[in-house]
């Protein structure tokens, strides 16, 4: 679909939902940051009851193929919609549409929040994404926001909770193991060994919470001003589910997202991040559970990459960015060895 056609369809959709006389779409941009859902941002100038208002919006649309297929956008929409009035910095998300006549595939619409998304990669000179002054403010804010997220009453969100005890760990491991199998590649021995280790070391969970599932550098929206920074949004809720809070903690602190720094998501030393989370009202962090979820974090990333590679191999996407995962997997195998504790000095 051309940009002009997309603009016309979006204008019609918004006009109907807002009861507007006219809607004009401008500054339509396809995002290059995400590797999974298709993301479009744009400005809509709305004329309604004689008043004109311009506001930024973001559309998330189900892709033809991608890293987290098979897709179902509705659960994440339901969560985002329910959180729209919560103090959590999640984007207000008013509409979900499944009718293929509108944008061909299911999508939902969110308000665009201010800020930029620092990417999880070192800068040109190897520097991290944040200055020390920014880290001092953002680190505790990110930890506190996660504690707040984990305090949300998930029972009102119509999500399917796992069984108590080892249920959350067992369910997540089974889901990622199934994705690896579906990709249909030979399983690398270190991955097979790690899957077996995870299966033999399922931790029990004493508290079920709303897990974001992808809470980490790269999904934080940040405004930098006056030498400091503030967290304005948490994005990409497509892996949201009910589970063990340690899953988000380990994912956020994983070496996957340190951007060349020793810090969890480029912000705080992992131990300080966990302490800040507990100080903000999250439960104390259990190192044994963190160890399990840290290994699963790497396995999960490998599963995501294998899914993208399978889509590319099968010709279901022409997005060459998925092919580069072939060159990222060996790093993840090394991270797996590090996280398993097989390489002296490796940080888990």
């Amino acid at each position: 679909m051309s940009d002009a056609a997309l603009e016309a369809r979006l204008a019609r959709f918004l006009a109907a939902r807002l009861g507007a006389e006219t809607v004009r779409i401008a500054a339509l941009e396809r995002s290059t940051e995400g590797f999974s859902q298709e993301t479009f941002s744009f400005e809509a100038t709305v004329v309604r009851a004689g008043r004109t208002e311009t506001r930024g919006w973001v559309v998330k649309r189900e892709p033809v193929a991608g890293l987290l297929e098979p897709y179902d956008l509705e659960p994440e929409f339901r969560v985002l919609h329910a959180l729209s009035d919560d103090p959590l910095p999640s984007p207000p998300t008013p509409w979900f549409e499944r009718d293929p006549a509108v944008l061909e595939r299911p999508f939902y619409v969110m308000e665009r929040l201010p800020g930029e998304v620092p990417v999880p990669a070192p800068g040109a000179n190897g520097e991290g994404p944040f200055t020390d002054a920014e880290r001092a403010v953002l680190g505790p804010a990110v930890a506190a926001t996660l504690a707040r997220l984990h305090a949300v009453d998930w029972r009102r969100l119509a999500l399917d909770p796992p069984a108590p005890g080892a249920g959350p760990a067992a369910r997540e491991l089974a889901a990622w193991r199934a994705r690896i199998a579906r990709a249909g590649f030979p399983v690398e021995p270190i991955l097979a060994d790690s899957l077996a280790w995870l299966g033999g070391n399922l931790p029990a969970t004493d508290r079920l919470v709303l897990v974001h599932g992808d809470y980490r550098l790269g999904n934080f929206l940040v405004v930098r001003e006056h030498g400091t920074a503030r967290l304005t949004g948490v994005l990409d809720w497509e892996m949201v589910h009910v589970g063990d809070p340690h899953e988000d903690l380990a994912w956020c602190a994983s070496p996957l997202w340190r951007a060349g720094t020793p810090y969890a998501s480029g912000l705080l030393p992992p131990a300080d991040f966990f302490a800040a989370y507990a100080a903000a009202g999250g439960a104390p962090v259990d190192p044994a559970r963190i160890r399990f979820w840290s290994v699963l974090a790497i396995v999960k990333m490998i599963a995501i990459m294998l899914t993208g590679l399978a889509a590319f191999r099968d010709g279901r996407t022409s997005d060459l960015r998925l092919a580069i995962f072939d060159h990222q997997l060996p790093y993840l195998h090394l991270l797996l060895a590090t996280t398993r504790g097989w390489i002296p000095g490796g940080d888990t």
Partner: protein, 155 residues
């Protein structure tokens, strides 16, 4: 590599034609782009992954599996040792990629066999397996170029 070289080249050509070429405005850049596509198309059937990489993986796996078998026999786990030795014997002598794949599968089999043994009985064999997997991981990154992921993400 996970995806066959031919599939990677085909995918790159498809992306350049479908997604990149329509967005290139300069005539010079467009000519260069089609030259790249021409080079890739003709390269496709003349290249294959280096045999030396598969041979190195196979040699590392064979050495580790031999040490695992010896360690298991020394630990009075003859049945486990026999199971792993059988997987090694089943690996073909060549071509290199097929041998490397079969020995990788034998490493997976060894991991399963060791997981079924008491920790103390498997300890020496596990140490050999873990050392092999670490070596394999380091070999995997040895030929990689610095990632352009940051630029790719920024677009």
């Amino acid at each position: 590599m996970t995806v066959p070289v031919e599939s990677l080249v085909d995918g790159a050509v498809r992306t350049l034609l479908d997604a990149v070429a329509p967005a290139v405005g300069s005539r010079y850049a467009r000519g260069q782009l089609y030259a790249v596509i021409d080079v890739l198309r003709n390269l496709r059937d003349r290249i294959e992954e280096r045999a030396a990489l598969a041979e190195a993986d196979a040699a590392g796996a064979a050495d580790a599996l031999a040490r695992i078998v010896v360690a298991l026999r020394a630990a009075d786990a003859a049945g486990a040792a026999d199971a792993i030795a059988a997987a090694v014997r089943a690996a073909p002598d060549g071509p290199p990629a097929a041998r490397a794949a079969a020995l990788a599968a034998a490493l997976v089999r060894a991991s399963e066999v060791l997981a079924a043994l008491p920790g103390a009985q498997a300890a020496a064999a596990r140490a050999a397996l873990e050392a092999c997997l670490v070596d394999r991981a380091f070999r995997g990154i040895a030929h990689l170029k610095p990632s352009l992921l940051a630029e790719i993400s920024r677009g």
